[in-house]
């Protein structure tokens, strides 16, 4: 009865959209508009008390994608190479890296160095909070326990 209209669905079923299946996302969290198919992946339970919208397909909730990312990898000298990504589409904001997210204890004193500016930023413990990082920009750090 509503053929042709677009509904919110997400790429989850294998057999739904064989001609436009996005392999990157087909099991993933993406939510996109598709032609109505009558499937559970296009049915949403709207709880007017809590204001949440929940997918009938897998029980997950409609929400906003977090856009700040912290990446890290260990180096041979015991330090961590850390990248702070601002993937927001506007503005500028500081980004914080927590020691516990990069395998250090919160009490660890560590030297933070900006690899692109090639200068030491100081000794910190527990976490380091960057200056404002512009949207679509990145900061690369090396964090070395003392």
């Amino acid at each position: 009865m509503e053929n042709g209209k677009k509904k919110i669905s997400f790429l989850y079923d294998y057999d739904l959209f064989s001609c436009s299946l996005d392999v990157l996302n087909f099991n993933g969290p993406a939510v996109d508009a598709f032609t109505c198919n009558g499937g559970a992946n296009q049915a949403w339970l709207w709880d007017s008390t809590t204001g949440t919208l929940r997918s009938k397909q897998n029980g997950l909730y409609l929400t906003l994608k977090p856009q700040i990312e912290v990446w890290a990898g260990p180096l041979s000298d015991g330090s961590q190479a850390v990248l702070l990504f601002n993937r927001v589409d506007s503005g500028a904001e500081p980004i914080t890296v927590q020691w516990t997210d990069i395998g250090f204890s919160a009490a660890q004193q560590a030297l933070v160095r900006d690899l692109w500016a090639r200068k030491d930023l100081g000794t910190f413990k527990e976490s380091y909070t960057s200056p404002n990082i512009k949207f679509h920009s990145v900061m690369m750090l090396k964090i070395k326990p003392k």
Binding site: N58, S90, E93, W116
Partner: protein, 132 residues
């Protein structure tokens, strides 16, 4: 190649990280919401108790239906659920963005931000393809 690009590519400290003899690949260790309120964002589905949610306000999971203009608004910033670029193709991307319904300059008059929710079959249907 600009000198700025060359400077980044030839930075010995960055190359040293790339060539580090431990050879362990980096990975994503934290995923956080923007601290700014008024930003557009991709819309996804997620578990309410997934790891990053501790940093997120519950309003990131809350939505209201505005019966006057048929918008679905995020309680986080009152932005509208939006089909990007009024795209009518399959798999059109959905974001939250500033509401432009009935704005004369808005592409497709903001129909890409108007929805109906059918409580019987639980479908959320866009008004963008109104020809049906």
């Amino acid at each position: 190649m600009s000198s700025a690009t060359l400077k980044i590519l030839s930075n010995p400290e960055v190359i040293a990280v790339n060539q580090d003899k431990l050879g362990v690949q980096g990975e994503k260790v934290a995923l956080l919401p923007s601290k700014l309120i008024n930003v557009t964002a991709d819309v996804i589905v997620a578990n309410y108790s997934s790891s990053f949610v501790s940093d997120a306000e519950p309003t990131r999971f809350q939505w209201t239906y505005n019966a006057q203009d048929s918008s679905i608004r995020s309680k986080h910033n009152n932005y509208c659920l939006t089909i990007v670029d009024c795209n009518t193709a399959e798999a059109a991307n959905i974001i939250i963005a500033p509401c432009e319904i009935n704005h004369p300059q808005a592409k497709c008059q903001g129909k890409n931000q108007q929805w109906t929710y059918n409580t019987a079959d639980q479908r959320i249907v866009s008004k963008l393809d109104g020809k049906w």
